[in-house]
């Protein structure tokens, strides 16, 4: 989230799209209702299903699953056509005036630079026109090569009629939505967009989200209280997991993981320290060397010296993609090609609190991949599908247990209440939780389990040697109790401390002696005199104490910022990009809802997303971007600098805009025998998957005699009334749903809440089902895995699977 949960109360219009917040974030949804009650805000819901969120909305619009880009570009076209955008904001805070290389083109569904053989884009034609090292601009927005004009041209095709044709929404409904949403394209009003997995789980996911962000930039809503682009994360700490390098491609704090070509620290830093593209760009990533060297000092402690590149060579280097679908593809295939040579795939899996058999798409492939492992460690509260994949029911088509040679360790872990430490919420708040009781039986806190295993491995390497033992033994593990690290100690290391006397570069009166906690990332050094496990978290644990434990809920601004409650990364800032909440002079667009204000000497209000004493005009509002302004045109993504409507990988229709390019051209299909894709002829119904508020993922259905199993006892399939009539399906009867990958059965829930759609002149149906059940769980509350049917398809930027739009057929069981 760019903004916070409570900040939603400041919105005049809320567009909930690609998410069902009433279902999945009911308590955060409180602030939607506060906006409705207290500001008479309008809640607009665009969703394939009439959801619990839609039930309390002011305006609901159906949409065919996966066509969000067409819908949003339609709204953008409406805003541009009818001058319902915030012109001063667009000129000041976006790249609308920047000029793009004339070689950039878009024809028949493809941007310039596409290589059909590789299925990839070369991005060089997408660059800006440079004058010296900076991009050229036209502040009047008239130059045909400026971003603004190119955008106008690009969205010209997305007329209300085209939106109706692609999305299946009546033109009149779409126009009502467009009118309400664009009513915030001015300084007086503010609007927010909230989304979740309904946007992220598509083969066009990043471009959908970008379209939402572009719309918010045109309306002048980014950086403002009551505005923003707000992703609602679905778990208590996947925000923290992402911030802390839970994924292969990043190190803590979103520093890039080293790759083969970056052999030395210098090569790494040269490649990853960007140059500014505008004179007024602060280009905050210029501090990459400070962040990286401080991270290496945290990782390797005394072993990291200037002479050995602070241990850089020990960091594993990646070549290519090691994300979710590649892990299990390479595991299934047994080997893979990296940097032009063959390498083994994983023969073992260690999983802490993760259930890949339930979570991954194409369940049969998951089971088959795990059956090829030599060993596996599962650390869990309960016996998950993953831990018992070797006895999966026969419809998963795994080998019988006698033929599964995998040794599986299942280790009992503590529950949340049985350990302390911090979770980071969707609004980036790190909040400490206190331990209430000991784990049951022999269960242990996960940090103890991990530490014991690591120390045992380290012992083996110290005693026996082996492959590059220094990689194992050089990592610092300098905790008071190494076998069960105190999480307060760990948080101190993440926040950062001085290793020698350190002078604050901006305030010479601030001096930290060796061993003292630093105040923030502004004090990090690139010479090895500071260490910091995650620069984004810097300041969470200072000499004043553990700021994640702060519990002062005073709200002097009345805007719901709560600066003295817990700690919000970065730098305790509550609204990201808040410089954009003010105009060129530093005056808030709306005096009643100020983000930050220039008072003549400094910025006041929220913690400024700006150098605190830099007068307006010194730097652009978007300090992390080399342009210094926000991107309506982004020459960085793998599938195009502008969003474009593409059908899902399993396409329900031929793309009405460019029949020759139906699905995202930058997506590459997987090719193993388990990766099969269906066609609209065999599987004519659009299907989507989702969660219910009464359950949590593949977790709560394990609760024996649990109240949640009472509220939602089992799997069901939501079916529109018209389709049920066509197929003779009664409410409550059994149905079969089949995709190219498998078949599942469930209870039919026949409903009027799934509207019939007219797509490209043809009647079309959508169905859906929740994800929560599987073959592990409390007896009586097991069921089919939704992912039995989902495809091996994903977004080409984030590699997140396409769970939200695929093709099926439906029959009476």
């Amino acid at each position: 989230m760019t903004n916070g949960w409570v900040d939603i109360k400041n919105a005049d219009v809320i567009l909930a799209m690609g998410g069902n917040p009433a279902e999945n974030h009911p308590v955060g949804f409180k602030w939607f209702m506060e906006a409705k009650r207290n500001r008479n805000a309008r809640l607009v819901v665009v969703d394939p299903r009439f959801t619990r969120t839609a039930a309390v909305a002011d305006l609901y619009s159906p949409i065919r699953a996966g066509t969000d880009i067409a819908y949003l570009l339609g709204i953008i076209r409406y805003a541009l056509e009818n001058k319902r955008y915030h012109e001063d904001y667009v000129k000041l805070h976006t790249n609308a005036p920047l000029l793009v290389n004339p070689a950039f083109t878009f024809n028949d569904g493809l941007f310039s630079g596409f290589d059909p053989a590789k299925g990839e884009y070369a991005k060089d034609t997408w660059a800006y026109q440079l004058g010296g090292s900076f991009a050229k601009t036209d502040p009047t927005l008239q130059d045909p090569q400026c971003v603004f004009q190119l955008l106008k041209k690009h969205v010209e095709r997305y007329t209300p009629e085209m939106v109706e044709k692609i999305c299946g929404v009546p033109k009149e409904t779409f126009l009502k939505v467009a009118e309400v949403v664009t009513s915030t394209g001015n300084p007086e009003r503010a609007g927010t967009i909230t989304y979740a997995l309904g946007w992220t789980q598509h083969s066009t996911a990043v471009q959908i989200i970008r379209t939402g962000a572009m719309l918010q930039l045109l309306l002048g809503n980014v950086g403002r209280p009551g505005g923003g682009v707000n992703a609602f994360r679905g778990h208590s700490n996947i925000q923290g997991a992402t911030d802390t390098a839970g994924t292969f491609e990043i190190l803590p704090g979103y520093l890039k993981t080293p790759t083969g070509p970056w052999q030395s620290l210098k090569e790494y830093l040269d490649a990853n320290t960007p140059k500014p593209l505008e004179a007024a760009s602060m280009n905050y990533w210029q501090n990459t060397p400070k962040f990286m060297v401080s991270l290496l000092k945290a990782a390797y402690g005394k072993a990291a010296t200037k002479e050995n590149d602070f241990g850089y060579s020990w960091l594993p280097k990646v070549d290519g993609n090691y994300s979710w679908m590649y892990i299990f593809d390479d595991m299934y295939r047994g080997d893979t090609t990296r940097a032009g040579g063959k390498e083994p795939g994983p023969e073992a899996l260690i999983t802490f609190g993760m259930n890949p058999v339930g979570l991954g798409p194409n369940s049969k492939k998951m089971v088959a991949a795990l059956a090829k492992q030599k060993w596996m460690v599962v650390v869990e509260n309960v016996e998950t599908e993953t831990s018992i994949f070797w006895k999966a029911p026969k419809e998963y088509e795994g080998p019988p247990p006698s033929q599964v040679q995998t040794e599986v360790f299942l280790l009992p872990a503590a529950d949340f209440a049985e350990k302390d430490g911090t979770f980071t919420n969707s609004a980036r708040w790190l909040q400490w939780k206190w331990k209430a009781l000991d784990p049951p039986g022999q269960a242990k806190a996960d940090q103890e389990i991990l530490a014991r295993i690591f120390l045992a491995v380290r012992d083996l390497y110290q005693k026996e040697g082996g492959a590059l033992p220094e990689q194992v033994t050089s990592v610092s593990w300098d905790y008071t109790s190494p076998a069960s690290p105190d999480l307060g100690d760990v948080l101190k290391e993440m926040s950062g401390k001085a290793l020698a006397e350190v002078h604050d570069p901006n305030d010479k009166t601030k001096v930290h002696t060796a061993g003292q906690q630093l105040d923030g990332f502004g004090q990090l050094m690139d010479d090895g005199t500071t260490m910091c496990g995650n620069w984004l978290h810097s300041g969470v644990y200072t000499e004043a104490g553990n700021n994640a434990q702060r519990r002062n809920n005073a709200d002097p601004t009345g805007l719901g910022m709560f600066h003295n409650w817990a700690f919000s990364w970065p730098a305790n800032r509550r609204i990201m990009y808040n410089r954009a909440s003010a105009d060129a002079e530093g005056k808030p667009w709306d005096a009643k809802r100020p983000g930050i204000t220039w008072n003549g000497e400094k910025w006041v209000g929220d913690v400024p997303d700006m150098k605190p004493d830099a007068p307006p005009g010194t730097y652009g509002a978007f300090i992390m971007i080399p342009e210094g302004v926000a991107r309506l045109y982004a020459p960085t993504f793998n599938d195009g600098p502008f969003p474009e409507h593409y059908e899902a990988v399993e396409a329900a229709v031929v793309n009405p805009l460019h029949p020759g390019v139906t699905s995202n051209p930058a997506f590459k299909k997987f090719t193993s025998d388990k990766d099969v894709y269906g066609t609209k002829e065999d599987f004519p119904i659009v299907c989507t998957t989702y969660r219910l508020t009464e359950h949590f993922h593949y977790w709560t259905q394990h609760q024996h005699q649990g109240l949640l199993n009472e509220l939602q006892p089992g799997f069901f399939v939501e079916i529109p009334e018209g389709l049920a009539r066509e197929k003779g399906i009664e409410n409550g009867s059994k149905v079969k749903v089949t995709s190219a990958r498998g078949q599942i059965q469930g209870v039919a829930m026949v409903t009027r809440r799934l509207y019939p759609l007219k797509v490209d002149g043809k009647e079309m149906w959508q169905i859906g089902f929740p994800i929560h059940w599987g073959f592990a769980g409390d007896p009586g509350h097991t069921g089919p895995l939704a992912n039995m049917l989902t495809p091996s398809a994903m977004d080409p930027n984030t590699w997140t699977p396409e769970y939200k739009a695929f093709l099926v057929k439906l029959e009476k069981a």
Binding site: V27, K30, R37, N40, F50, A55, P713, F715, V747, G780
Partner: protein, 294 residues
């Protein structure tokens, strides 16, 4: 020993409660705004959790609603209703529970002395020690609320968390409610809140919005904002609830005579047990029994 906590205004089959007249407590009320209810069911389980009630076996029958009716272990239930409206669909959710009537039909119908009481603050409560499980209270209730608990042989229903309210806390369902569609306070405040919300809704296209506080039972300790006030039945609410005539007759005519009524009640209760056994929970709309282990 009697409690010092709350004075009793009325008590079933009794001539008076223990009202001393010394203490004057404000009448409390729940407030339900169906137009901001998302049917999340937090109230359903917050109630079970607070009151230490067991999970009721259920099964999926093609509906989001947890079970067809209230249960002795399940004291509040969100009723889900889909209706066609204005060219689209509306999905209505209303929290159903004891309405804590100002003029409680259950209390009037109850033959067991002190088994149903109305405290000075308006809360209507079942006293399990005095309850004989005859089920008469259910026949007196125009909202079909009290349920027979087979294990204890007593009637059970929402207590309005009288234990919490007496200790200065709000009821468990109210506290849990994520959207604030449930609120708690004095009846006067909740009615004022309701009228203000109804006015706002009328300005937002809900021309028929009303605050449901039916006079036929003297008003309720649960006031409900209905967006479609012209269709209370869409929410599973009676349009004009009254205490049944038979119960009213027993209360207003027979009871002051004492004798006849009391004997009749006792005989009635005995007869009910002898010929029908304890009252069973309502059949679940013809559902087959739940699967074992559920």
């Amino acid at each position: 020993m009697t409690t010092q906590n709350l004075e009793i205004r009325r008590s079933s089959a009794s001539l008076w409660g223990e009202k001393t007249g010394m203490r004057h407590l404000p009448v409390v009320s729940k407030f339900i705004d169906t137009t901001t209810c998302i049917g999340c069911k937090a109230c359903e389980v917050a109630c079970q959790e607070w009151n230490d009630l067991e999970a009721v076996p259920t099964r999926q029958t093609g509906n989001y609603q947890t079970m067809p009716e209230l249960d002795a272990e399940f004291w509040n239930l969100i009723r889900f209703n889909e209706r066609d409206f204005d060219g689209g669909v509306v999905w209505l959710m209303r929290k159903d529970q004891c309405m804590h009537c100002e003029d409680p039909g259950c209390l009037a119908a109850c033959p067991a002395p002190g088994a149903i009481v109305q405290y000075e603050n308006g809360i209507v409560d079942v006293n399990p020690e005095a309850c004989i499980g005859c089920g008469f209270c259910a026949t007196g209730c125009p909202f079909n609320v009290p349920k027979f608990h087979a294990k204890t042989g007593k009637m059970a229903k929402c207590t309005l968390c009288v234990d919490r309210v007496t200790s200065g806390l709000e009821p468990a369902c109210i506290k849990a409610c994520p959207t604030g569609c449930l609120q708690f306070g004095t009846k006067d405040d909740m009615v004022a809140l309701g009228h203000a919300r109804v006015e706002q809704l009328k300005g937002n296209g809900f021309a028929n919005a009303v605050l449901y506080d039916p006079p036929g039972v003297g008003g309720t300790g649960v006031v409900t904002v209905l967006g479609h006030g012209d269709h209370p039945e869409w929410y599973g609410l009676p349009a004009d609830p009254h205490v049944p005539v038979g119960v009213r007759f027993w209360k207003s005519v027979l009871r002051p005579l004492g004798v006849v009524a009391m004997i009749g009640a006792v005989l009635g209760a005995i007869g009910h047990f002898m010929y029908q056994g304890p009252k069973e929970p309502r059949a679940r709309d013809g559902e087959p029994p739940p699967p074992p282990g559920a």
